[in-house]
């Protein structure tokens, strides 16, 4: 579903991402772990074609994202670390706005509100202007937008940052549900606990390199933290 082949991004000779090779199949939830500046966000930005790779290829459903940016974006949904929305519109209208852009015009009001239920946002809030929302509420609208897009792959850049533990937990459940429906997920995160809970695989990144990948079912929470710290150590 998502594939990186020798994917490299350099800024003035410094490699932000160094020859990443990665394949994420449908139903897989791949969590990228690593310190700030390890190359997690760069990886996601490359898949979104926000930046051009220095060399190598990022593919979505077998299509090169640089040559077919619009077609590949049809299949993915993106949740940034800080979901920012149109302040003068309500949550519901923002959802409609981005759904309209994504080409989904068939949603009824009830269906749209259904997405808010799924992400745990109160219906009253859906009718309020986003200008009055907390960060967590905006994050939930961002998740609802991704759900409504019915994407086959999700690109998540620390999506739960700023969510309370309960909301975070609900989000993990949601990811599991989506993964069981065949959605492939690439998630950058700092949350080891969450990665172990909702991920099927985790990858450790450091200085733009993917150091190691592990299957979460084969390790315990304590192991994950130990391995993470080992890799982060100089």
């Amino acid at each position: 579903m998502l594939e990186a082949i020798n994917l490299t991004k350099a800024y003035n000779g410094t490699k932000a991402l160094d020859a990443l090779n990665l394949k994420i199949e449908p139903s897989e939830v791949f969590c990228l772990l690593g310190a700030n500046g390890a190359g997690k966000t760069t990886t996601i930005s490359l898949f979104l074609n926000f930046i051009e790779p220095t060399s190598g290829t990022a593919k979505i459903k077998g299509l090169d994202v640089t040559t077919q940016p619009l077609e590949t974006k049809r299949h993915i949904a993106y949740i940034p670390e800080q979901v920012m929305l149109y302040k003068n519109l309500t949550g519901l209208e923002n959802l409609e706005y981005f759904s309209a852009l994504a080409g989904h015009d068939q949603y009824s009001r009830a269906e749209l509100l259904g997405f808010f239920d799924q992400v745990g946002l109160q219906r009253e809030a859906a009718e309020k202007r986003v200008g009055t929302y907390s960060k967590g509420m905006r994050q939930k609208v961002g998740i609802a937008i991704a759900l409504a897009k019915q994407a086959e792959a999700l690109l998540l850049d620390e999506p739960t940052s700023g969510l309370d533990p309960k909301a975070s937990n609900e989000f993990s459940e949601l990811l599991k549900k989506l993964s069981s429906k065949g959605v492939a997920v690439l998630m950058a995160t700092h949350d080891l606990f969450r990665a172990k809970e909702s991920g099927t695989r985790v990858g450790m990144m450091r200085h733009g390199k993917l150091m190691t990948t592990l299957k979460t079912e084969e390790i315990g929470h304590a192991d994950l933290e130990r391995i993470y710290l080992e890799h982060m150590h100089d």
Binding site: L48, F50, L70, E71, K73, R74, I76, A77, Y78, P80, Q82, V83, M84, L85, Y86, K87, N88, L89, E93, E96, Y97, F98, S99, A100, L101, A102, G103, H104, D105, G142, I145, L155
Partner: protein, 450 residues
């Protein structure tokens, strides 16, 4: 993608922005004021013009009462003939130079060149600022609203952090951006069209080609500013950078460049002829007092051989000789006067050429041409006064240039002046074209920059 819903929400979001509705309301109210202001300025002129025939009659009666005895022809020396430059029905939209140039002149049958350039007493500060008419509103203030609404089309999304989410959608960001910019522009264009509609109803403008031209030229001008904003947007800089650059462009195009070009025209095309006209006409006439009367009459008869039978008395004053001498002042000033006119026309020509590359001048000149309030229109009025002056002179020459006692003058039937030319400006389609070419050029340039 679902365009109708997207456009609807986009428009809703934009209109709910701070100051947007207020801005639109203010510019609409300013439009109403501009219409009324233009209407008042022109109505005041029309009032004077309408009162002219009665004023002429009262003046004639007064002069006859004072000067008709013993010689009724004595009256002619004091008698003013009133001429007026009637405004076109579109003049209230663009008062143009009708405030600087006189719209009425009274002339006597003395040397004409000394009488053509009189003007009314008016407040120079008011003249310097110009009139707050629709043309001013369009040329100066509408661009500011376009700048205010569109300068941050891209940058506000980037600064608020919405842009990445938009870019992750399967629609080209360029396309979304273009739609957003157009959508911000549309309410402004709509308010402008509404203002034109109000002007049409309020001023009861005749619905002809001119209304179409006004609509076209103004929309093309507004589009030009959208293109400028779009061009600045293509630098992908911050909202502050965009706003400041656009204000710089606005200041350059509305104030600095027109002022600079005005100075340039005055420097490269000076009119020393204006002074020459004054000197020549004065000397041309006054010299005649020192010359033998026969010589003066000889020159006069070259121009008007039909009166050659007249013999001016050499021993005493005669009106026939006096007006012939007056006319020679005009004859002597004819060449410099023609050169002055040609020079003014050359200035106009150059200004029109420069207008192709300076949209603000372009729009203003086009408005003035449609409203017929340009310098050309004033020159045409002066030409009509010249013709009328000759008509009056020729009306009285048979009485003045006769050897026997002249027949009684029929004071009830005197020549009357009328000048009102209602035509549509021929340069307007080219003006529209030049604005569109500039707009498209900027858009393509912006595209090439990405």
């Amino acid at each position: 993608m679902n365009w109708p819903r997207f456009l609807q929400l986009e428009l809703k979001n934009f209109l709910a922005g701070r100051g947007v509705l207020v801005g639109l309301l203010v510019i609409f109210l300013a439009g109403l004021y501009a219409i009324e202001h233009g209407r008042r300025v022109i109505a005041a002129q029309q009032k004077v013009i309408a009162a002219t025939p009665a004023m002429q009659q009262a003046h004639l009666e007064k002069m006859l009462a004072q000067h008709a005895t013993p010689d009724p022809l004595n009256t002619l020396y004091y008698l003013n003939f009133f001429t007026t430059h009637e405004p076109s029905s579109y003049a209230p939209l663009s008062v143009g130079l009708r405030d600087v140039n006189p719209f009425h002149l009274k002339i006597r049958i003395l040397t004409l060149e000394g009488q053509l350039y009189d003007s009314d007493i008016s407040n120079p500060a008011t003249l310097a600022l110009g009139n707050f008419d629709l043309a001013f509103l369009l040329v100066f203030l509408y661009p500011l609203l376009i700048i205010a609404f569109t300068h941050n089309t891209l940058s506000s999304e980037q600064e608020q952090g919405i842009w990445p989410l938009l870019c992750s959608q399967p629609v080209a960001p360029q396309k979304i951006l273009a739609v957003k910019a157009c959508l911000r522009f549309l309410p402004i264009a709509a308010i402008w069209l509404l203002t034109l509609l109000v002007a049409w109803l309020w001023l009861q403008l005749p619905l002809d080609r001119r209304f179409g031209f006004i609509t076209l030229i103004s929309l093309a001008y507004l589009l030009f500013w959208l293109a400028v904003s779009w061009f600045v947007m293509s630098f992908q800089r911050s909202s502050n950078f965009n706003a400041l650059s656009l204000l710089g462009v606005w200041l350059t195009l509305t104030i600095l460049l027109p002022a600079a070009l005005n100075v340039a025209l005055a420097t490269f095309l000076p009119v020393p002829e204006a002074f020459a006209v004054t000197v020549n006409q004065r000397e041309g006439y006054h010299q005649q007092w020192d010359r033998p009367k026969a010589e003066t009459m000889q020159r006069f008869f070259q121009r008007y051989p039909e009166y050659a039978a007249f013999q001016a008395p050499t021993d005493k004053f005669s009106w026939g000789w006096y007006y012939a001498a007056q006319h020679l002042g005009d004859e002597d000033a004819a060449e410099s006067s023609a050169r002055l006119r040609a020079k003014l026309e050359r200035r106009q020509q150059w200004m029109r050429r420069l207008a192709w590359i300076v949209p603000t001048i372009n729009a203003q000149v086009a408005f003035n041409q449609i409203a017929q309030t340009e310098l050309d229109d004033h020159l045409a009025y002066l030409d009509s006064v010249r013709l009328f002056h000759e008509q009056v002179r020729k009306h009285f020459y048979p009485y003045l240039l006769c050897n026997d006692a002249p027949p009684p003058v029929n004071w009830a039937q005197l020549p009357r002046h009328q000048f009102r030319a209602e035509t549509s400006g021929p340069h307007v389609p080219v003006s529209v074209l030049s604005l569109l070419v500039l707009s498209i050029g900027l858009t393509l340039w912006a595209r090439g920059r990405r």
